[in-house]
Symmetry: C2
Subunit: 322 residues, 2 copies
C-alpha cells in the first residue's frame, strides 16, 4: 500500500458507507458485498457496453470539484451509450486513489455520482478501489440496453443519407479558450467544457431510422470521419449549417475560422448521425434540437464546404482553407 | 497529453494493430472500431460482471514481464468469475499508459492477453487507452455467464454445511517470502505468487450444490470471514486440514505457525465454498483437488482450530494463539 491520509476510509469502509448506497436499487449488485454483480436482460434486449478512463492532470485537475469529476466520468460513458441508441442501465467503477484523496473528496465524489444516477437513471453495480502512488485514475464501465440487433453503429451510412447533429458545436472548445485567457469570459461556455451534457433522451429515439451514429468527442469533423471510414462513404458538411450557439458566435465568432475551430474542437458530447432523407419529418418531430448539416456521398473522407462553396481540406494537426 | 516515447503507437494504431486481433472472434466487438460493444445472452442465462484494477508499483513492478502483467490482470478477474460459477465470456480493458511504456512492452502485453484468451475462452470486446504521467494502470471488466438465478454468492452458507477449498493454500505467500529472501528458493512457489491460476473449470461445476463461494485473494481466513459475515454464520476451520503443498511444507513448514501463515497470506486464487454434507460424494467425483477443511455453525466469525484442539483467534493485523 502507498501513503494515504491516515484517517482515510479503508476500502471496505468506503464501499459500505459511500458506495453501497449508490447500488441500493440494483438487486444484482448484492449491496456491493460480493465479488461480482449479476445482470439479467429481457430476452428481446441486448447489452451495450463501453469503458472510459479519466486520469488526473490529463482529463481533469486535482483542484476540480469532486462531484464534477464524478459526473464527468459517468457522462463521457453515458454519451457513448446515447449515441448507440442505448438506455442507461448500470455501471461499474474502478477507482485508483492518489495519496492526496481524503474522505471529504470521496464523499463529494460519491454525492456527484448519486446526483447523476438520479438524473440519468443508471445505478452502480460493482467496482474496485485501489491505492496508487500516482495521479487519481477512474475507469467507468457503463452498460445500457437496446432492442436486439438495433444498436446504432458507426457503419451503416449510405450515399444519399443526410447528416445531422444535435445541439450546438464548439461550445466546449470555446469554454477552453475562455479558461486559457484566449477569449472573453462566458460562464455558459465554461460549463459546456467542464461538464458534458449527454443526449441520453435523444439517443434511444434515433433507433429505427438513424443509419449511423456516434457522439462528438474528438471534434465534429474527426468523428464524422470515423463514420465515413467505417461506413465506406464520403461525408460533405456545409460549414454555414454547423450549429453555433449565440454565446459562441459572440465570444469566438461566426466566420469560417470560427466554424473550423468549432468543428475541430471536440468535447461537444452531441450526437452526430446519418439518416435517409425520408426520415427528415420524424427527426423534426422529435422535439430535440437537431440540425441537418450535410449529406452522405460515394467516396471517402469528410469535407467541410465553406460559405463560398469551396472545400476546406484537412491537413495534419488542423484544417486549412484552399 | 503527457510525454511518451515519440515512436509509441498512437491510440488508434495500438487498437488496430495490437488489440483489434484480440477481438476478432466477438462480432459484438465490431473490430473495436465503434464506441461500444454489444452483447447478447441466451434468455436462460444472465451476466456476471466484475472489475479489478492493477497499478504499477502496487500490484506489479515496472520490470515484470509484460505478458505476465497482462495475464495477471485477466486472471484476477477470471478467478472472481470462477468462484461465482460463471463461464468466462468477454472483457473490456482500460489502459492508462505510463511514459515508459514502449511498443515492445505493448506488443508483449497484447501477446500475453492473446495466450490467456485461448486458455480461458474469453475475448476482448472493448476498451479505452489513455496516457498517464504516473504509474501504468490497468482495469479489466470481465463478464461471464451463469444460468439465471444460479450465481454463487457469499451469502447462502447454512449451519450444518461443510467448508471446502480447492488446491493448496499459502503457496503464493510462500513465493513472496522467497522473493523477500525470508525463505529458501523455490521456483514453483514464486510462480504461484507471480501468476494466479484461476479455477475456471472447477467454478461452473459447483453450480447447484455449493451454498456459498468466493475466491481466496485476501487470505483463506479473511475470505471465509466474508462468507461468515454475509451468510450470518460461524465457520470453524481445522488447521490440520488446511491443504499445504509439498513445496510449502518443505520451504515454510507445517507447524501451527506455518498453517496460520498460509491461511492469512492471500493471493491463492483458489475457490473456498460451502456445501451441504450430502454433496460430499459429488464433490469427490468432480476430478478436481478439493479438500474438506471445516464446517458451518450457528454464530458469527471464523475460527481456526489448532491441532491441539484449541482455537486460534484473530487479532488486528494477524493471528495469535491463546
Amino acid at each position: 500500500m502507498t501513503n494515504s491520509p491516515s484517517d482515510r476510509l479503508g476500502e471496505f469502509e468506503a464501499i459500505a458507507t459511500l458506495f453501497a448506497p449508490l447500488a441500493a436499487k440494483a438487486p444484482g449488485a448484492l449491496g456491493l458485498t460480493d465479488d461480482a454483480a449479476v445482470l439479467a436482460l429481457p430476452p428481446e434486449q441486448e447489452l451495450v457496453v463501453t469503458v472510459d478512463a479519466l486520469v488526473e492532470s490529463v482529463h481533469f485537475l486535482r483542484g476540480d470539484p469532486p462531484d464534477a469529476v464524478a459526473k464527468k466520468s459517468l457522462r463521457v460513458n453515458l454519451s457513448d451509450l446515447a449515441a448507440k441508441g442505448a438506455t442507461p442501465h448500470a455501471y461499474l467503477l474502478s477507482l485508483s486513489l492518489a495519496p492526496w484523496v481524503d474522505n471529504a473528496w470521496l464523499a463529494a465524489f460519491a454525492r456527484g455520482l448519486g446526483e447523476d444516477q438520479e438524473r440519468y437513471g443508471i445505478t452502480l453495480i460493482g467496482g474496485d478501489t485501489t491505492s496508487t502512488p500516482g495521479p487519481l485514475t477512474l475507469s467507468v464501465t457503463a452498460m445500457g440496453a437496446v432492442p436486439r440487433g438495433k444498436m446504432l453503429k458507426r457503419s451503416g451510412a449510405q450515399a444519399g443519407d443526410l447528416v445531422f447533429v444535435s445541439g450546438t458545436i464548439g461550445d466546449a472548445g470555446g469554454g477552453l479558450a475562455v479558461l486559457k485567457g484566449e477569449a472573453a469570459n462566458d460562464a455558459g461556455l465554461i460549463d459546456r467544457y467542464r461538464l458534458p451534457q449527454p443526449r441520453s433522451e435523444l439517443g434511444p429515439k434515433l433507433l429505427g431510422f438513424a443509419s449511423a451514429s456516434l457522439d462528438v468527442s474528438d471534434g465534429l469533423i474527426a468523428d464524422l470521419g470515423h463514420i465515413a471510414q467505417t461506413s465506406g462513404v464520403r461525408i460533405a458538411v456545409d460549414a454555414a449549417r454547423v450549429p453555433l450557439s449565440d454565446a459562441y458566435r459572440k465570444i469566438i465568432g461566426e466566420d469560417d475560422a470560427a466554424i473550423i475551430r468549432a468543428a475541430t474542437a471536440g468535447d461537444d458530447y452531441e450526437i452526430a448521425f446519418t439518416a435517409p432523407a425520408s426520415a427528415g419529418g420524424t427527426i423534426a418531430s422529435l422535439g430535440f434540437p437537431v440540425t441537418e448539416i450535410g449529406r452522405v456521398e460515394s467516396g471517402a473522407a469528410v469535407v467541410l464546404i465553406g460559405r463560398d462553396g469551396k472545400p476546406l481540406t484537412v491537413v495534419k494537426g488542423g484544417w486549412t482553407h484552399f
